[in-house]
């Protein structure tokens, strides 16, 4: 009587632990090994194993085993007849010695005999085969009782559920990965489209060929130097590529005018930020600020920009970045009415206008990007490609740049006015 009570305590202890085990967040392999130990230990079974069913290969793949001979197969194939029978059996143990009619037990007869297998338990959960449990003889040497079979059934259900959960998780992960790839494809398509647009914008203006692409690249460098995340850096590049998209509606002769344009022409040209915004707004971008960059890339911190004459904090940050990138490119490329300006002048201009037109920390970030390349801290040759080797090798360019960097006030003096 006391023996019976002890047996109950022991087996139910194992059952409880198994329930806990399979809901634990540890590795699947460990869960399977512990589950097998709990099952074998609860009834003192000398040997055993747990396998997972693979619907693709129609086979059972061993996940954990104890006491089996080294040559026990790690993958056991099933035929339709076996599968049908196992499904019908559910979680109920099959006596190996009495199941020889099934091909499965004929094929693996030798291995099963060598490892002393007595019971085979098909793991079926929600009428789906998920695996199997193999059991050898009990330490007592006695046959399995109906009570033992009940216990095995209950524990096998836990193990089956754990395998099913794992399968579902794997399926979820696979779908998430598929989604990620799909998204990646979309993003690449989007980025390619953006670049094609940038090229189309630039083609309208023969003097500023490549302008949008360069503004995109400079914006990207600034965002990187500001420590933005990869996705945000990409967004900054796109904002740069598309900032002048509104120009596609401005007459070619105004854009290409080889002279300083008059007031009427200028007001026509000044519509391009608003037009750009209208074009970009209806498109769903993976990055949120792209239309804003187009609309406000000609605003200045001191409120003297256009179209809305916004002040410092009213201007979207991305627009400030694109503004600097745009201005820098305008200064460092030949224009219809003037040639590119030398490095010392450009640095002095950016320094002087920090806090007036440009946000000081953005100028600082931009300078730092260039400084890192000039001093070899960064191995990239982006400025060299964008500005040309000659320009980057201007005599004394590093001291010029350091000077300009040191001359920038740490923050905009307008920042606190509004």
């Amino acid at each position: 009587m006391a023996d019976e009570r002890n047996r109950l305590i022991h087996t139910f202890g194992a059952l409880a632990e198994l329930g806990e085990e399979v809901s634990n967040k540890q590795s699947f392999q460990d869960t399977m090994r512990t589950s097998l130990h709990l099952l074998l230990g609860s009834l003192a079974i000398m040997r055993g194993g747990v396998a997972r069913y693979s619907p693709f290969g129609h086979e059972l793949n061993m996940l954990a085993m104890r006491g089996f001979r080294d040559d026990f197969p790690i993958a056991l194939s099933l035929c339709q007849e076996d599968e049908r029978q196992f499904l019908a059996n559910g979680l109920y143990p099959i006596e190996v010695s009495q199941a020889k009619v099934l091909p499965f037990f004929q094929v693996y007869d030798h291995s099963f005999e060598q490892s002393g297998l007595e019971l085979f338990v098909p793991l079926v959960v929600h009428e789906e085969p998920v695996g199997a449990v193999f059991l050898g003889q009990k330490a007592t040497g006695e046959p399995y009782t109906s009570y033992d079979r009940e216990i095995i059934c209950a524990m096998a259900r836990h193990i089956g559920v754990a395998i099913l959960q794992r399968n579902m998780m794997a399926e979820l992960e696979r779908r998430a990965e598929e989604n990620r790839k799909l998204y990646e494809n979309l993003r690449m398509t989007y980025n390619d489209t953006v670049k094609a647009f940038a090229a189309a914008i630039d083609r309208k203006d023969k003097y500023t060929e490549g302008h949008s692409v360069r503004v995109g690249k400079y914006s990207e460098i600034i965002a990187e130097e500001l420590g933005w995340k990869e996705q945000e850096v990409e967004g900054a590049a796109v904002a740069g590529y598309l900032h002048d998209i509104g120009k596609i509606t401005v007459e070619r002769k105004i854009i290409n005018a080889p002279y300083r344009i008059n007031a009427k022409e200028s007001s026509e040209l000044n519509k391009h930020p608003g037009v750009g915004y209208e074009i970009l707004m209806p498109i769903s971008h993976p990055y949120s600020d792209v239309p804003l960059a187009a609309k406000y890339h000609h605003e200045r911190l001191d409120g003297r920009g256009y179209p809305d004459g916004l002040f410092d904090r009213e201007i979207p940050y991305i627009a400030k970045i694109v503004n600097l990138a745009d201005s820098f490119d305008a200064m460092t490329t030949d224009r219809p009415y003037k040639r590119r300006r030398p490095a010392n002048e450009v640095f002095a201009d950016l320094q002087r206008n920090s806090g007036k037109q440009f946000a000081p920390e953005i100028v600082q970030a931009f300078f730092k990007g260039m400084y890192n390349e000039l001093t070899g801290v960064s191995k990239e040759k982006r400025f060299r490609r964008l500005l040309g080797r000659e320009y980057m090798e201007t005599e004394g360019i590093i001291p010029m740049l350091t000077n300009a960097m040191n001359g920038i006030a740490p923050a905009s003096n307008l920042t606190f006015l509004h």
Partner: protein, 108 residues
């Protein structure tokens, strides 16, 4: 051999007789280390494996399974397994489960 095994399973003597301390780790997956330690001893040619339970309060199903694994390995190699200093409750459990059919019990 696993570096931190002696923490869980201290062992003495490697020739004919080996003593391995079961400890409480026996009840967890980490108890597999004790099983490995025993297998190493058996491979080294030990023909009497003494498992000392003096530091083991309770043996659960994982512990029983690991012990059966050790017994099985010893049987394959024809070595004797001795359980020493097993608590009375544990002896009852081992008796009920048939574990004691495969080992001799001893007090150290």
């Amino acid at each position: 051999m696993d570096g931190d095994v002696p923490m869980n399973a201290a062992s003495e003597g490697a020739s004919k007789q080996a003593v391995v301390y079961a400890t409480d780790y026996l009840n967890k997956l980490s108890g597999e280390k004790i099983e490995r330690e025993c297998k190493t001893r058996l491979q080294e040619g030990c023909d009497e494996l003494i498992l000392n339970f003096s530091q083991t309060e309770l043996v659960n199903s994982v512990g029983v399974s690991i012990l059966l694994g050790i017994i099985d390995s010893a049987a394959v190699r024809g070595a004797r397994v001795v359980f020493s200093d097993v608590k009375e409750d544990t002896v009852e459990l081992f008796d009920m489960l048939g574990v004691t059919k495969h080992v001799s019990l001893r007090e150290s």
